[in-house]
């Protein structure tokens, strides 16, 4: 390496330092602190117990707790149901908006509206809708352990389908029309050219949408808090809400930190899996 390149490398490192320090301060340090906290018994309301080191006891407690496994299962179910529906409906919406018709620009803007509404506001609207007097269909949706999922998933699908559609629309618009034209000339039906031309070309956009939505849905919190509060019982309680309860309502910092670390681990694994999936194309 020439002396010039080396000094340039040093300059690059120097210029990158502030960013590295910022990441360290706002991401890495709090993470490490949470891990350290999770190895202690720290209960804000029981100061006479002190803050003893307890090794992995908090993790052992979480893994032995049925409510933790329920919360994890609820979270995964929510991710599957809502993201699955959002991808299908988002694709349909994107295909629709991709066509040339009068008023397309206005419709595209309108379609984005649900996504622009703050989640808490949207959740409140859905809550009023489902517990109105009389309730839709005469069914008390939020008081039933199974039915309560309907408003939760529906509200999320309503709110984030436009986001998926927007990402996919961008993918559709960057697509080379000549390929579809060629397929048509070769006598392919609309369905076949969609299946064999559009869909493979849309793969990168689909994957990006899937990654964003999965990781977002995995952290679901505000929607559930407002709509069901995790109930009835704990039938719709996701991991983030269970963690919040342990941390900020019961003020068990050690146990709550352990739950946070577990949630981080699962989220990180999901992200890694997706990164490999995207990288392999």
């Amino acid at each position: 390496m020439s002396p010039g390149a080396r000094s340039e490398g040093r300059l690059a490192a120097l210029l990158g330092l502030p960013v590295a320090l910022c990441v360290l301060a706002v991401a890495v340090l709090p993470m490490l602190w949470t891990v350290w906290e999770s190895l202690h018994r720290h209960d804000l309301r029981l100061p006479w117990l002190g803050r003893p080191r307890v090794g992995l006891a908090n993790y052992a407690e979480a893994l032995a707790e049925a409510r933790f496994w329920d919360a994890l299962a609820h979270t995964l179910f929510f991710v599957l149901a809502s993201v699955g529906l959002e991808m299908v409906l988002g694709l349909l919406l994107a295909l629709l908006l991709h066509r040339a018709f009068r008023g397309r620009a206005a419709l595209r803007t309108l379609a984005l509206l649900p996504w622009a509404i703050p989640t808490v506001v949207a959740a409140l609207v859905w809550r009023f809708l489902f517990e109105g007097a009389p309730a839709p269909g005469g069914v008390p949706w939020l008081a039933d352990a199974t039915l309560a999922w309907v408003p939760v998933v529906l509200a999320d699908v309503w709110k984030t389908t436009p986001f998926v559609a927007l990402l996919l629309l961008a993918g559709l618009q960057s697509m080379d029309e000549a390929l579809l034209e060629a397929a048509r000339v070769d006598g392919a039906t609309a369905w076949r050219s969609f299946l064999h031309v559009t869909l493979p070309l849309l793969r990168p956009a689909l994957l990006v949408a899937l990654v964003f939505r999965t990781l977002d849905a995995f952290r679901v919190f505000d929607l559930v808090v407002v709509l069901t509060g995790g109930g009835p019982g704990t039938a719709t309680e996701p991991l983030a809400l269970y963690t919040f309860g342990a941390l900020l309502q019961e003020l068990r910092f050690g146990y709550g930190a352990a739950l946070s670390v577990i949630a981080f681990g699962v989220g990180f694994a999901l992200a890694l899996a997706y990164v490999r999936l995207v990288g392999r194309r």
């Binding site: 517990e131 109930g231 009835p232 019982g233 039938a235 309860g245 309502q249 019961e250």
Partner: protein, 386 residues
Amino acid sequence: MTFPGSALGAEGELLAAQVERFERVHPGVRVELRRTPDAADQRHQLYVQWLAARVPDPDVLQLDVVWTAEFAAAGWIRPLELPAAARDDFFPAPLAAARWRERLYALPWFVDVGVLYWRTDLLEAPPQSFAALERQAQAALARGDVELGWIFQGARYEGLVTVFLELLAARGGAILDAEGRVVVDREPAVAALAALRDAIQVSGVAPREVLTWQEEPVRLAFQNGRALFMRNWPYAHALLRDPERSKVAGRFAVAPLPAAALGGQLLAVNAASDVPEAARLLVAFLTAPEQLRERAARLGQLPPRRSLYDDPELAEALAIPVEDALASIERAVPRPVTPLWTELSSTLQVHLHRALSGQREPREALTAAADELRRRLARAGLGADA
């Protein structure tokens, strides 16, 4: 000196006026009123974070009756002295809620008791028992007189535990016994929970919507004339009486419950306060008969001092006839006094709500609840079960 008391509406105005009077009586002491969240669990969360960090302000704290043990055991609030004469004037139940391990840590500010609202245009007399309430509600529903029979606070929160406690105490049961042992899995508890579950899931005397309702949705449903009976706190009375907004104005009355849960607020002094003497003076001032009489007259809150109930003016202001109020307070059922109450309650709420929404059988739910309560008490070093 700072004091985060209820600062909303009429209550806030009255408090500001009383504090101003206090400052005139004690020149040199300045009191700053702070706004805090009105929702009990949010205020609790905020207090714990302040107190655990040992910050000296706020100096005076407004506590829910169930927080005394927790804050006193943690050493966050100061013991108080009370002259013998005043001690006899306060009702025993709220005063007991202000004690922890034989010492007094707070003074009662006002008392709340659960009461039954009933429709005088649909019934001759209120029910004397839970069974009678169910019968009357069923008959009214069958006649089509009213849309809903009995409504109460059934969402998964503290209010649900108080409703359950009222039914439980009426059957002679308890959540913890006098020695602090968990007894919520015994027969009276199973029977009480089964009765509540059946009212919602079997007979339909109570609508399933109550499982998502706290005080206000319940009050609104009753106010709009939809229900025959409502379990609520006395605060609803003034709102239901207003013919401008209420469809049941002049068509309802209040009856005492066979067993009423004790609620209400206390005043205490922050142990880390820089001005504990001034803080004690403010607590004494706000809980003196004069100030309490004013609160009762203006806000309709039940005062915690017995002597005030001889005042004929009080009768005007209160939601319930004075003799009913006295009877309700004298036999009010406190929630268990333990530093772990908020945690035990949130555990219990989950299991009760599972049973009421039909996810678990009452016995199964209470067995699981009792196991978890014992585990949590033992972990905190407070377990009384051998």
